[in-house]
Amino acid sequence: MDLSKAKDTFLQEARELLQQFETLLLKAESASLDSEDLGALFRTVHTIKGSAGLFGFEAIVSFCHTVENVLAQLRSGTLSLTPELSQLLLLCRDGISRLVDDAEVSETPLVEVPEAERALQDALASVGVHEETPAKPRSIPVATMHADVDDAQRWHIRVKFGADVLRGGVDPIACLRYLSTLGTISGMQTLFPSLPALDELDPETCYIGFDFTLTSSASLAEIDGTFDFAREGSEIEIKSLTPVAVPAAAPAPDNQPEPEARHAEPVARKPGEGKFLKVEAAKLDRLINLVGELVIAGAAANVLSVNRNDNQMQEAISTISTLIEQIRDGALNMRMVPVGEIFQRFPRVVRDVAHELGKDIELRISGEETELDKSMVEKLTDPLMHIVRNALDHGIEPAAERKSSGKPTRGKIELMAYHESGSVVLEVSDDGGGIRRDKVIHKAVERGLIESGAGLTDAQVYHLLFEPGFSTAEAVTNLSGRGVGMDVVKKNIEALRGEIEIESREGQGTTMRLRLPLTLAIIDGFLVQVGPSQFVIPLDMVLECIELVTQESRYRRYIELRGEVLPYIDVRDIFDIHDAALPSYRYIVVVQYGNKRAGLVVDHLLGELQVVIKPLGKLFRGAQGISGSAILGSGEVALILDVPQLVQVACRQEKEEIEHHHERSHTEHACGK
């Protein structure tokens, strides 16, 4: 039986649960957790423990068990969540995470809890919570009676595993193995009423069941949880043999669903399950490629049907085309994930690092719903982490310094994401001391990177920070300042065809802006035609379209639009498109970029459409005014205009033209003499 797939699922699930666990704990720092949150907290660890048991990851089971005991007490209210405990639990989260990592890579799973985690276990015990691992005797007597920690009870368990259990990747023996860590199994009887004759036996079908007695101090929920993965198609019966009804005596099971209810809807236990489906990325890529071919094949069929003059056929094909387009959009959208996936790691990082540095720092996150291609998200985490750490370490000044410069002692870091003109922008800004220009120059001169700082613009100076081995921090700290980093960050971002901008004001803060192309992203565009070429303008930049009134002077490249001057760019001129007849009517598309406006003169307006952005690749790295391309329904490739860059090119061309004229008039003047 191939368990590796099931194991992958376990690993992924465990990591997601740990993330949830962390989010909940961090939430606890600003608001108090209600019983639902505490229950969720308990369940995360409990689920990890349960699944780990199925795979025989003893160390995880044992460690989670300790953590779970504390969580159970939090849930029942016998213990309250102090900042210290919260910190400890966060460390435990890291401990579980380490153990999970270990389970992923090592051939033989750890049986013993390693040293570091053992220390945490001991720390948990000292918080006033006693150990309940079977290996250790209870050390501290607790006054409250508690189901989870009550004296061992006897349970009668009868399990008839479903026929498909083995095929589902669950080993019944593993369930027993896990149960034996909760207590002692006795009176075991194997049930095989439906076992067929050997020649009819299907080795992949499970025919067996067990009937036994378990003596354990674990709660009913815990015991029942053992069978979570085997529940489907199985008959599970757990009866308490200890006459005293436990739920009545214990406060814990109050907010715990009754076992019967859980049998009825086992799915309801895991939040989010059923809402998401995990799919291998490569499968999706294959699908997207196929859909791409489908779009083109569909377009070809469309052309044929038009040529045939068959109305019914045309109608049928146009319906198909619409559907194909929907499929394409849907398929592409599946690759997009919200940036929040990266952002959610930061509250913890900021909290821990700020703590370590003795700074009080608040993190604000916005735009986490901004979508980005999945493959990019993975590659952005490290660079972003680096920038945030830098901001924490070098950006935000120590509290005393902040106070003396009249700022609130609490520093602020802001993480922001948004779409801008066909790119995704991620911003990390702090309200710290800003980048000290003189310091950067001093260092750069010292390192021999530049001769002197004279004549350098701020942007050029900040750019020095990306030179390999450059660091302005005076003290090398644990976190940053070792001079490795910014150059790597820049390299990583450039590998994604993105760019970094730095904006800084001394004494007021720094903003690092990562501008990334939307690989594979979909944008709403506005299609225009200039000469024989079609261009897409990102729709969110388009304000309006007006007819171009022919100018009297060929030097006048602006119009008056409702009392304002609107400079315009003739796309024909700037892109040197002169091989098609000039139409009698031309149009100005009024675009907004940043807080500026400009007009783009085009031949025809072709309307709105949704396009998939395809990067042009490295060969076109030098392309100006073009941010990418898109494949139109006809199969043709249209270029996507990069409006801000286009304006830059226009400015440059105009400047050159003026200088050229200037020179010429000078030489003419000189010649005339």
Partner: protein, 177 residues
């Protein structure tokens, strides 16, 4: 004289000492490229030119959903632009770059055939007379008693070099002399 849809089959034959090459016409000259790097050959069906790019980057085309650059190697050799005619084909090549395979289309006047050229029928490039940069030539192959230039795809279609040129200026052509 087949001009459309060669599949990159026949690859296993390339393992032997006689390698297979695709011959094609460019200008009035016959060139050849080893077939192992060829993905497919398509009839020229239009492309989109990208403005402000050096002339050897003729544009991009849509290859079943992928945007593929089209290079005019004639311009890259410092010769005249390849005119578009009814026989014009685009040879789609696989070029390795930074650990990834990138497709690059090469515009040719027409494709001829796939030939086998034995290693002993390949001469080293002449020191001059080909009017090509020496590193562009892998060797001179003898086909039907005639020499054809076997192109070194790695150099002719060096992504790094071409990107550099397109980055620096629109007009700077690779000088050959």
């Amino acid at each position: 004289m087949n001009k459309s849809h060669h599949e990159p089959a026949l690859q296993e034959a390339g393992q032997q000492d006689a390698q297979q090459y695709l011959t094609f016409l460019l200008g009035r000259e016959t060139f050849a490229i080893g077939i192992s790097g060829i993905r497919e050959i398509i009839e020229f069906g239009g492309m989109t030119s990208v403005p402000l790019m050096p002339p050897f980057l003729r544009g991009v085309l849509n290859l079943r959903g992928a945007v593929v650059p089209v290079v005019d190697i004639s311009v890259r050799f410092g010769r005249e632009e390849t005119p578009i005619g009814p026989q014009t084909c685009v040879v789609i090549l696989e070029v390795a770059h930074e650990g990834e395979i990138q497709y690059v289309g090469v515009l040719v006047d027409s494709v001829n055939e796939v030939v086998e050229i034995a290693a002993e029928d390949i001469e080293p490039p002449p020191s001059f007379g080909s009017m090509l940069r020496p590193e562009f030539i892998q060797g001179m192959g003898k086909v039907n008693g005639q020499f054809v230039v076997l192109l070194s795809v790695d150099y002719v279609l060096s992504i790094d070099e071409m990107a550099q040129i397109s980055h620096v200026a629109e007009s700077s052509e690779p000088a050959h002399e």
